[in-house]
Amino acid sequence: MRSSLKALAYRLAPQLIALVVILLLNFITSPQFFNVVVQNARLYGSLIDVLNRGAPVALLAIGMTLVIATKGIDLSVGAVIAICGAVAASSIVSGNSVAYTVILTLSIGLACGVWNGFLVAVLNIQPIIATLVLMVAGRGIAQLITEGAILTFNDDGLTFFGSGSLLLLPMPVVTWILVGLLVILLVRRTALGMLIEAVGINRRASTLSGIQTPVLLMAVYMLSGLCASIAGVIVAADIKGADANNAGLWLELDAILAVVVGGNSLLGGRFSILGSLIGAMIIQAVNTGILSSGFPPEFNLIIKAVIIIVILVIQSPAVQSLAIFASRRQGGREQSK
């Protein structure tokens, strides 16, 4: 157990270092960054804010990690957020109970996942195009549900998912940590994770060695849809309304970035959900840090782009192989004994 923890820390070292460096930078630019206070039975502070605001991307990143591990990609998650937000809002507005609304929304998310999974697993369409269909059409569908308007609602039960708190933590934080833990346990305490990696490395070989590839792919896209629908509920509950045009806009790109920053290869294979979650927090820490540091907001995107480019360049195969080459030359003797 100890050695596996050590291996995990070693694997996630670049991400952890990046997160610490960015948090330190935040601390330098705004010294109150680490202040956390308890108010109304809930923690408040910039650090909690990072965890809270990062919830949608973190949730998407969980599903996206598994999709990318199968050598796929899910571009539709932003649109699925919009659809699910619209469904949740219109269901609660028309007088349904919270439980019914949530279950309905999650099943719509699952259905979106089934659609993507069907295109990828059964029709054998490249994931990037297969999910592009729903990405393009999704916002139109969401607008169809809300009939072009921004649906607002005022149901305490539903808004609890966006602004409520549990055990001192905001509800979105509890949600993504819980979903993350469940999925990590599911894929790492069973053979599922290994099978997913196998499919990502070589789909044909996996099929030939007896893995039910279509079922597995379908399940992975369904999970991604499910995560997106949970994120959709949170986003809608947070603003107490469904905005079909802007809910989850470009979040798919943030989620993919989170996965890549988390040290996962876009070419599939080995994956780490924990890494992706740290990646999501890195991205959110950058966003929050820029806002709280008092930089002119115009510079947000540029700073974000530069930080991401630096992290990606450090992780790029070319630089990595140079680093491995250098460390082999230095540490070769130690490792040989």
Partner: protein, 322 residues
Amino acid sequence: MNSKYLPLLATIVIFVLAYAGCTLQYPNMLSTRVIGNLLTDNAFLGIAAVGMTFVIISGGIDLSIGSVIAFTGVFLAVILQNTSIHPLLAFALVLVITTAFGGIMGAIIHYLDMPAFIVTLAGMFLARGMAFVLSIDSIPIDNEYYSTLTSLYYRLPGGGRLTLIGGIMLLVFAVGIFIAQRTRFGTNVYALGGGPQTARLMGVPVGRTTIQIYALSGFLAGLSGIVFSLYTSAGYSLAAVGVELDAIAAVVIGGTLLTGGAGFVAGTLIGILIQGLIQTYITFDGTLSSWWTKILIGLLLFAFILMQKAILFLSSLNKRYA
């Protein structure tokens, strides 16, 4: 009949059928005015889509073009507002910047061996960010030369107007078709799309071609930005959001395989026109809401992907290793 022309042919047939259907319902749609507007309204998208076609044929993707268009517009607006340089000089300057921007992305993709998706995603943030830094407001362009350019048009029989920007788009498509089919660079792009490994073994300069492809896409995105600023007479850093998706959709509807290696620039033109036709139909109808455009384009995408699958399947029956 070569099967590689089938997707292109299907696209053309669908466009003609759809246009005929629209005309049956609204006879006015068959006027040169509508056609002229179709070209003018989609000019910037069409120009950007030509660059996207090259990128996709080479097996890559360029997510940065929407942001580059916005950056170009803001850059032109700011420079024309604050300096007295001639617009043509400003055009040249911005084209140099966007071409270099694309080239650098290509170099990063090749030399650092990173996926195009992620590199151009970072480029998308960077270009949009640069636009924000220049100005967060929408700046009107009030320039005499601009008004001269926007008022230029060629009168088509029937009263339609082929505006300057519509003409530029057609010209870009013509040049694009020539480059893709008749130059060594074009052949290299197709070879690269068939697989970098085989391309390298065949003696294609992979690095140089990759950089050229993304530089071309950057150049055309810049040109598209110029056309967009002529079209709107303003520069706004939040403009042209999501144009890259429309361009990708047009390329796929135009029959280009997203896996790379096969496709036609001419198909993209038809793809653009189909998208424009859907929008025009919705305008003519008046009762349909604008979100039907997105849903219809999504459905069309799906239909075309299915058709491509079917064609690939049929041709694999003929050739075992196709």
